[in-house]
């Protein structure tokens, strides 16, 4: 509290145990009580000031710190509600309390892009009464006279200057910059890394689902093909039997045809459903893979930025050493020598510009699916654990690369180049597919015909020259098959049994 008073704060102590503080300009306010958790008064304050467009920090001891801007823009109710929901989540999942135990508070502050607000944890400085918020003088900011690489704030004349104090301030700034760089690296790398890993898992799961649905669709396509042939055959035989056989025989054939038609309808429904699911999951997997790529790009950027800031801190420390040497030379009565040290100090890092803080670019970064506000130390540790998908022994996560093609799907078949039919003797007129699948842009069409019973292999099912197939249309079955065909449902069933594990 003494620090606050020294910084020009006016403090009000309420007999109920509440402490209120206001900065001299009235823009920064503090509100605390004996309860470290957020009470209803705290939440109301947060809600109100967020609505006004101010920034907020919840300090490790539960104190609510607010910072108004003279040009702040009120937030909408939806924006405030979204921020409060994130705050609630941080309370509910225990991350707020966990971070507080580590001396870290939660800031809800402008992202720096003039449009958005971020929740993030930040270390509460031990020697300041609050966490630095945008445009907030509460936490000691680097002194503008502390000196910068480039040396514009290093005096030419060492006489009458507290060089030791200047060196200390430059060192302090270097320490703060280094600490901020590392903290940002940990915080941001953890957040983005968790997002990346979550996306990787989602991509892997979606890819597996896509493959499974793909197999199911192909299995049902084969059944559709077989049943279509059976129906056509039995109906043809029934028509032929009308002239030569008894009415009972004809009826038996028609009943058998109806039974196959029922199986055909079921298989077609399942095929179309699996086809749609395969396409949906394929798109979902691709989106998650894009998110993984974006997150990995962002992680590399964070590392680069952090390294830049650490390097800048190194320059500051070198500069502080020169200034300190100047002070020692001055104390020894060697003014010229001291002047020389200061000249050297100004040369260090000439032209260097301090790297920006990470926050503004965070918002500009590609948006990646977020697993939620995860910032607790335990979760951060998980990031480097050995149980991430990339480290999992099996199955390998399909998120960083396309997974190995499972089962019998042609792994080398380009999606946009369906294979030619293996059997060119199919006499189904081109452009009249009886059924088709469209997965990953690959069109698989069933040519309902009488000559396909010999080979129900997957490779026979393409119709690259067919016009736009209509999966919902009924098979166009030849009314007069050239060759009588015996029912062969067992073959289709045998094919289906290969995928029994996928049956639901």
């Amino acid at each position: 509290m003494r620090v606050l008073l020294e910084q020009g704060f006016e403090m009000n102590l309420h007999p109920a145990g509440q402490v209120f503080g206001a900065s001299g300009d009235g823009l920064t306010r503090l509100q605390g009580d004996a309860d470290r958790s957020l009470g209803s008064d705290d939440l109301l304050t947060i809600k109100v000031v967020l609505g006004m467009g101010a920034n907020v920090a919840v300090l490790p001891d539960g104190t609510v710190q607010t910072r108004h801007h003279l040009d702040q823009t009120p937030r909408t109710e939806q924006e405030v509600a979204a921020l409060l929901a994130q705050l609630d989540a941080a309370v509910a999942d225990g991350s707020l309390a966990a971070e507080a135990r580590s001396g870290r508070g939660l800031t809800i502050a402008d992202a720096g892009d003039g449009a958005s607000t971020l929740l993030r944890f930040a270390q509460a400085p031990a020697d300041a009464p609050g966490i630095a918020l945008p445009d907030d003088p509460v936490a000691p900011a680097p002194s503008p006279t502390a000196g910068e690489p480039g040396g514009e704030n290093i005096p030419d004349d060492p006489t009458g200057v507290d060089l030791a104090g200047l060196a200390d301030r430059i060192d302090a700034r270097a320490d703060a910059l280094r600490a901020d760089a590392l903290e940002d690296q940990v915080t941001e790398s953890s957040r983005v890394g968790l997002e990346r890993d979550a996306s990787a898992r989602e991509a892997w799961m979606a890819q597996q689902g896509h493959e499974a649905a793909w197999q199911q669709a192909r299995r049902e396509l084969k059944i559709v093909q077989a049943e279509t042939k059976q129906v056509a055959d039995l109906e043809a035989r029934a028509r032929a039997a009308e002239a030569t056989s008894s009415a009972d025989d004809v009826e038996d054939l028609r009943q058998s045809a109806a039974a196959h038609q029922a199986r055909l309808d079921v298989a077609r429904l399942r095929m179309e459903s699996a086809e749609a699911e395969a396409n949906r999951l394929g798109q979902e997997a691709a989106a998650h893979r894009d998110a993984v790529t974006a997150a990995e790009t962002r992680l590399a950027e964070i590392d680069t930025r952090s390294a830049d800031r650490v390097r800048f801190a190194d320059l500051l420390e070198g500069q502080a050493g020169q200034v300190r040497s100047a002070g020692e030379s001055l104390a020894a009565g060697d003014v010229d020598r001291a002047r020389g040290w200061l000249t050297d100090a100004r040369v260090i890092g000439a032209g260097e510009v301090e790297p920006d803080d990470l926050l503004p670019d965070d918002e500009a970064a590609p948006e990646v699916p977020s697993p939620g506000p995860i910032t607790s130390p335990s979760q951060v540790d998980d990031v480097t654990g050995a149980d991430t998908p990339a480290d999992a022994p099996a199955p390998a996560p399909a998120t960083d690369e396309a997974p190995a093609e499972p089962l019998d799907r042609p792994a080398d078949q380009p999606a946009d180049q369906p294979e030619e039919p293996a059997d060119a003797s199919l006499d189904q007129p081109a452009g009249e597919p009886a059924a088709s699948l469209s997965v990953d842009g690959l069109e698989l069409s069933l040519q309902a015909a009488d000559s396909i019973e010999a080979d129900l292999a997957f490779d026979d099912f393409s119709a690259p020259d067919s016009p736009e197939p209509d999966a919902s249309s009924e098979p166009d079955v030849p009314t007069e098959p050239d060759v009588p065909i015996e029912p062969d449902v067992e073959l289709a069933q045998a094919e289906a049994d290969d995928f029994s594990l996928l049956d639901g």
Partner: protein
Amino acid sequence: MGTEGILDDTDLRTIRDALAAGKQVKLLPDGSVEASADVVDAPMGAEAEAYTSSRSSAT
């Protein structure tokens, strides 16, 4: 008054007595301590006193 004497023992006693009497206390940057003339709340409870004391001495 300078800030050197901010929250000295006398100030702390004044603060504690005022809060215990249910008065609100205002601390100003110049080091002055002002207690409200009127009682604004019930006298400070033990928990509130402990907290306020800890905040007062936490510098």
